[in-house]
């Protein structure tokens, strides 16, 4: 099957500022992709372009459609939660379910009602009576009940407490996701999604700095707790990041880089393990907050 999202030279400028700078990427079907980058790095802009919400330059095909000209057809198969989207204050829970059931051919009412039964929401409740977390719960219940081929979640769990966040990601994986679906997630809480992601894309200053599957990343990046006596040997192998944990040096190595250290070399330096996505992110983004 061809790619769900295929971008070639995708660019978006706001006046003089370049938000997305000619990026290429391809997301195949059946993946859960984490699009991760600091604030203002262009991740929301990229997603907006893919959802046909903004004009852009370059080539972008989503499920075979051009989001600029074929948005109406595209939205039959795509669903999204935008980071700043909010439900209108006058909407009632029961009306929201009726409306989405009425306009969306792929909406499963039982599913939505089941998700809502797991919250404190009542059918007669209006959005203006809800807490921020409850509004997100309603929005997620509606979106998760839509059998879309592509689901885009831009900061979906903002305002949710940790119990519901965990439950949401579990539902997403067990109840929603299958090999015909593709999910693109952006979030600041990387540690909560890293175990469900199949692919990672790091974006910085409108460019993609890393795009790889989780397996590739597991093979490529190695974190080593370097023993004191091997520090200079470790530094010679050009770690991409170093920090200190409980007085011990922890270094991150890219085994996939040309001339990079091999697994055996690194194992000789000390205890090795796979880095967390958060550590990898921090190492990759160094300097972008300066």
């Amino acid at each position: 099957m061809s790619a769900v999202i295929e971008a070639k030279g995708l660019s978006k400028r706001y006046g003089k500022r370049t938000a997305v700078d000619g990026i290429d990427f391809s997301i195949p079907a059946g993946r859960i992709v984490g699009l991760i980058g600091p604030n203002g790095s262009g991740k929301t802009t990229t997603l907006k372009a893919a959802l046909g919400l903004i004009p852009f330059e370059g080539e972008l095909s989503v499920l075979g459609y051009d989001p600029r000209t074929e948005r109406d057809a595209l939205m039959q198969d795509v669903c999204f939660i935008a980071d700043v989207a909010i439900l209108p204050r006058w909407l009632r829970v029961a009306d929201a379910i009726d409306f989405v059931a009425g306009v969306h051919p792929r909406f499963n009412r039982e599913k939505a009602e089941r998700y809502i039964a797991g919250t404190k929401l009542k059918p007669s409740m209006k959005v203006k009576e809800m807490s921020k977390g409850m509004i997100v719960q309603l929005h997620l219940a509606l979106v998760m009940a839509i059998d879309a081929r592509l689901l885009v979640l831009d900061e979906p769990t903002l305002g949710l407490d940790i119990i519901y966040r965990k439950q949401f990601y579990q539902n997403l994986l067990e109840d929603y996701f299958d090999e015909h679906k593709t999910i693109v997630i952006t979030t600041h809480q990387v540690e909560e999604v890293e175990h469900i992601l199949t692919d990672l894309m790091f974006i910085r200053d409108g460019r993609i700095v890393l795009a790889a599957s989780m397996e590739e990343i597991g093979e490529r990046y190695i974190e080593v707790m370097v023993s004191h006596d091997k520090l200079s040997a470790a530094n010679a192998l050009q770690p991409i990041d170093r920090r200190t944990v409980f007085g011990k040096a922890v270094m991150l190595f890219d085994a996939g880089a040309p001339g990079g250290a091999t697994r055996q070399q690194l194992a000789a330096l000390g205890e090795t393990r796979n880095p967390s996505v958060a550590d990898l992110f921090v190492a990759t983004m160094k300097g972008s907050y300066a």
């Binding site: 903004i54 909010i86 209108p88 009632r92 009306d95 306009v103």
Partner: protein, 330 residues
């Protein structure tokens, strides 16, 4: 167009605007019945039937005492009452104009301001259909709701008056129920709805265009642009006249345009655009000539100006749709 989606979009608009489109006219209609009806019932009960009855400026003399009310004068009262009873609900139609004005002004602005537009856009509903559903709500749904409520309130009031008379021994029921206009009046209102829609369309489209375009304060833009434009034109025109003695002669057109993009949603405004209410339609001693009201109203559609307005309105709605499609909300 997908009719199921349209049905749900119209329902959505009703949910959002239930207060201004349904509850407000319902409450005002109920108050009208209670206050006006109460006053009449009390007046008749306390002071007996007056020597003459005045309904909307039409006087039927020799109402007289109960015993002396002739069949003829009874029929005359019934004819006037049934021809004009809907006029008692005119506050509701006035309210309708306000409701539609602010509805249109906020129709594409509120969803951007509260960012719920991104939720609506995540559903398979096109911008064309959304904009169309809002225009249909303003032009047909809201007026229809008002018509139903107005007819209900007017009938209740008429009934109250008849009851009050019957306590004085005057049975108006048979004359009222036998009057053709009692049944004709609500149909007339519905028959006028297409005329209303044609003349209201330019105003609705203008307000929706501003609503989809303005970043802040849509009211200032919607009202300010035509009025200030008119003012500037007036200055230029006056200056030209003073200096060269030649008037631009566009002022009447400019005023007409401003009136039509702001005042088209007033029911009956078509007569004003066409130079006043025809003499034959002014209420006379025999009440109102309802069929003439319909034919005169439809006659206003014969000219080109009504349809130029429609054409411009379609362009404005198209622009509003494109703006909604591409507006980037942060």
């Amino acid at each position: 167009m997908n009719t199921t989606t349209m049905k749900w979009l119209l329902r959505r608009e009703f949910w959002e605007n239930k207060g201004s489109m349904f509850w407000a006219p319902l409450v005002v209609g109920a108050l009208l019945v209670l206050l006006v009806g109460g006053t009449i019932v009390y007046g008749v009960a306390a002071h007996g039937v007056p020597a003459h009855v005045t309904i909307n400026g039409q006087t039927v003399a020799n109402g007289g005492m109960a015993a002396s009310v002739t069949l003829e004068s009874r029929e005359m009262i019934a004819k006037i009452a049934t021809g004009m009873y809907l006029a008692t609900a005119s506050p509701l139609f006035f309210m309708l104009s306000f409701a539609v004005f602010f509805y249109c002004l906020n129709s594409l602005y509120d969803e951007r301001r509260d960012r719920s537009i991104l939720f609506w856009k995540s559903l398979p509903v096109s911008d064309q259909m959304t904009v169309a559903s809002k225009a249909v709500t303003a032009l047909l749904v809201a007026p229809l709701i008002t018509i139903v409520l107005a007819v209900g309130a007017s009938l209740a009031l008429l009934f109250l008056v008849c009851v009050a008379f019957s306590f004085q021994g005057i049975n108006m029921f048979s004359a009222v129920l036998a009057s053709r206009d009692l049944y004709l009046s609500p149909l007339i209102l519905v028959a006028l709805l297409p005329v209303y829609a044609v003349w209201a369309l330019p105003t609705v489209a203008w307000l929706m265009l501003v609503s989809s375009w303005a970043r802040t304060k849509p009211f200032m833009w919607a009202v300010g642009v035509p009025l200030i434009g008119l003012l500037i034109l007036k200055w230029v025109d006056t200056a030209m006249e003073k200096i060269s003695g030649v008037s631009l002669a566009i002022m009447p057109y400019a005023q007409d345009i401003a009136a039509r993009i702001l005042g088209g949603i007033l029911p009956g405004a078509w007569f004003i655009f066409k130079g006043g209410v025809p003499a034959g339609l002014r209420p006379s001693e025999n009440g109102v000539d309802l069929p003439a009201l319909v034919s005169n109203s439809y006659a206003t559609l014969a000219g080109l100006d009504a349809w130029i307005g429609v054409a411009l309105a379609v362009l404005m709605l198209f622009a509003a749709m494109r703006l909604r499609r591409w507006r980037d909300e942060g």
